[in-house]
Every structure is written in structure tokens, then in C-alpha cells.
Chain length 197, copies 2
DNA sequence: GCTAATCTTGAATGTACATTCAAGTAAGGG
DNA sequence: CCCTTACTTGAATGTACATTCAAGATTAGC
């Protein structure tokens, strides 16, 4: 009965993600998005409402991805403590390689936007809460496996881990040395483990 | 031989700090700065070159302040380990009060600008390095006082502490609960202390 | 009280931007 | 093959902004 859209929504979101991630929200112009996605302003606005609408979908998509990764890790075989270490190590590797000066889209967005846009702030806070819960599950597993003591609450320990993850996402912006990054991972693991008793 | 300036440079910088801190660099217009400082565009440009020049002076001023605080702490009486805990606790108190959703001007600026402006990025990296050194001195003191083991390098442990400080500056943007914040401080202290042996 | 030097004022300049909209284009049912 | 419905195009709109500049104001030495 009507003409069908020529673009694929996921492809557009993925391409928009790259631009927002590299430039931040404020510095990304609609023109940049037009170039990156191949959609003209009219189509972009018809599909996403406005720049902010597209951005919200972008951060949702991004967080679903990361959350999925942590969830999948939980189902994978191996000790949970090793999985946690592996996750941190991966962030450290990216930071050390200098590839990832972009940091984390969520952290970038949180710092840039939370004071200025209540909708974006709320969305990001929700994502953070879900991510913490995912880490808490992993920590609970490590507690039942005996690698972390049960005297401390898993949710609170998850906040400690998350805090260091966010820290690393800030650190990577100032090209830190490898030894320091390794010391951070070591510090986190000791901070977790020493609750064993 | 010539007319003298009517404004006080430090006052202008302090007022500009407030605006940049609340709004970020990109969202702060020169108009905002004109309102906040009382200087007209012409005077502002004569005194600081441009918006970026003023911002550079603002972050220098801000960091001198924080660095001075850590330096003064070192000369104060008491155990260094307690001083470190006190510093973290202060950030936690601010975050828990919800006063300080502004976070840290340096962290905000690092995330907003490091990818887009090499001058600002370099300046901030320098400040970070100096801050880490200040923490390393405090940790060295704690090592000689016997509260932290000497098997691990003080600079690397300082990175771990700094990492958590940066993390807290991100955390405070999503209104975290008190218990989690306390758990973070506890995690850092255990991560440091467990090196004692 | 004149001159030279500097500061202050605020309107003007030019650019970049988010968003809108009217005209053109495809697709499928009748 | 026509009509309805929806998508696409890209120029137009209006606003917000960083920076400049010419005209006026203030100081200190002479």
C-alpha cells in the first residue's frame, strides 16, 4: 500500500554510534549524521524524531551490546573470578594499545549530558544499574565458588568493580603506562579477594 | 601612562570556573562568560585571547587548588593512611550529598575535550601526572609508616587510588547509594593494605 | 590640559547548526 | 493504470554563537 524504507535501522544506528562515540553528542552535527548514515535530514527526522531520539537509540543499542557480553560470560565455562579479571584485562589492553582513546560511550555521554538533559541522564542511570546487577551476579558466583568471601554484599562489591571500570575509561584518555594499568587490575582483585575469610 | 584594568584577574577566573564547571566547555557560550564575569567580549578577548585561553587558565587554577590541598595534607600531622582515607571519604560525602553532581572539572574536561583539542588534552594530562605524583608521595609515607607494604611501587599504587577517584567522579553523576560508595572506599583501602607483607 | 597608551563597550560580522517542509519518488491494491 | 500511502530529497528557516572592531573612556606623565 505504500513505499518501503530503503535503509536498515540497525545499520543506521551502528553508523551513528561511531560518529557519536568519536565526537560526543554536542560536537556531532546532524550533517555528520547525514554523511555517516546516508540518510537525508528528512528521513532521519521521520525515523528518529530528532538528534536526541537517535542518540537515545544509540546508547540503548550500545548498552545492550555490553550487557550481553557480560551475560554471555556468565554462562561460559570457567571460574567467575577469572572472568572478572578477563573483563578488566580487556579494558586495560584496549587502553594500553591506545586504540581506545574514545573510552566508553556511556561514560562519555554521562559526563557530557547528565547535567543538561534529564531524559538522557535517566536512560544512562538505568543502564548503569543493569550493568551493576550483571557484575553482581558474577560476583555472587565467585562467592559461591569460594574466591570471594561472603561477608560483603555482592551489589556493593559490584560497585567497587564498576568504579574501577569507569576509572579506567577516564584513565585511557591520558595514555597511561602499562604498569599502572596492571596495578589497577591487581588492586581491584586484591580489594575483592581480601574479603575472603 | 595608560588606563588600568578595572577587573581582578583571579576573580574573573573564579567566576568563569563556576560556569565552565556547571555547563562544560562546549555548552558555555561567551555570552555566559560575559554575564558571569561582568567583562564585555572585547575585554575578555584582550585579557585571555579567546574562550579556550580562558578555559586553560581556569583548569590551571582549578588544579593548582586541588594539588595544593593534597600537598598541604602531606605536611599535616597524622598517619598518611588516614589522610588517604579522608580524601576519598570527602569525595564520597560530596557524591552522597548529591551536591556535587558537577563532578570534577578536570575529569569532565578530559572526557569532553581530549579527543578534540590537543592543547587542552596535553594540559590535563600534565595535571593528572602531577596529581598522581602527589598521591605517590602520600603512599610512600604510608609505606614508611608501615601501613602499606613496600613490595609494590608507590607510583603504581597511586594510579590505583587515582583510578578510583576518577571512578567516583563518574559515579556521582548517577546518584549512587551510600553503601556502595562506602564499599568503594573499603575496596581501595583493602587493595592497598593487602600489599602489606 | 594635552598626549599617548591602554582599557571598555556593545553592535556588527560571518558561520554553523537543528529542524521543517514542499515537491518528487516508489510501491501495492483496486 | 490510477490512487493512496509512505518514504526521500535538499533547499530554506531561524537561531545561536565566537570573534572582531571602531568609538568612547580613563589614566599618568609632561
Amino acid at each position: 500500500m505504500a513505499r518501503q524504507a530503503e535503509f536498515n535501522r540497525d545499520t543506521v544506528i551502528t553508523r551513528a554510534t561511531t560518529v557519536f562515540w568519536e565526537r560526543g553528542y554536542g560536537k556531532t552535527s546532524v550533517g555528520d549524521l547525514v554523511s555517516a548514515t546516508g540518510l537525508q535530514p528528512g528521513s532521519l527526522y521521520a525515523a528518529f524524531g530528532n538528534k536526541k531520539g537517535l542518540f537515545l537509540e544509540v546508547i540503548d543499542h550500545y548498552n545492550r551490546g555490553f550487557l550481553g557480553k557480560v551475560g554471555a560470560l556468565r554462562d561460559a565455562p570457567g571460574r567467575s573470578m577469572d572472568k572478572l579479571e578477563g573483563l578488566l584485562q580487556q579494558v586495560v589492553d584496549d587502553a594500553a594499545a591506545g586504540d581506545d582513546e574514545r573510552g566508553c560511550l556511556t561514560v562519555n555521554a554521562l559526563l557530557e549530558m547528565s547535567m543538561h538533559d534529564a531524559d538522557i541522564a535517566e536512560r544512562l542511570r538505568g543502564h548503569n544499574a543493569r550493568l551493576r546487577k550483571a557484575f553482581a551476579w558474577l560476583i555472587k558466583d565467585a562467592q559461591t565458588e569460594g574466591d570471594i568471601g561472603t561477608t560483603r554484599d555482592a551489589n556493593e562489591l559490584a560497585s567497587f568493580v564498576l568504579n574501577n571500570l569507569w576509572g579506567l575509561r577516564v584513565m585511557c584518555k591520558s595514555r597511561p603506562d602499562r604498569a599502572s594499568l596492571d596495578a589497577i587490575v591487581e588492586g581491584v582483585l586484591k580489594g575483592l579477594r581480601s574479603a575472603t575469610n
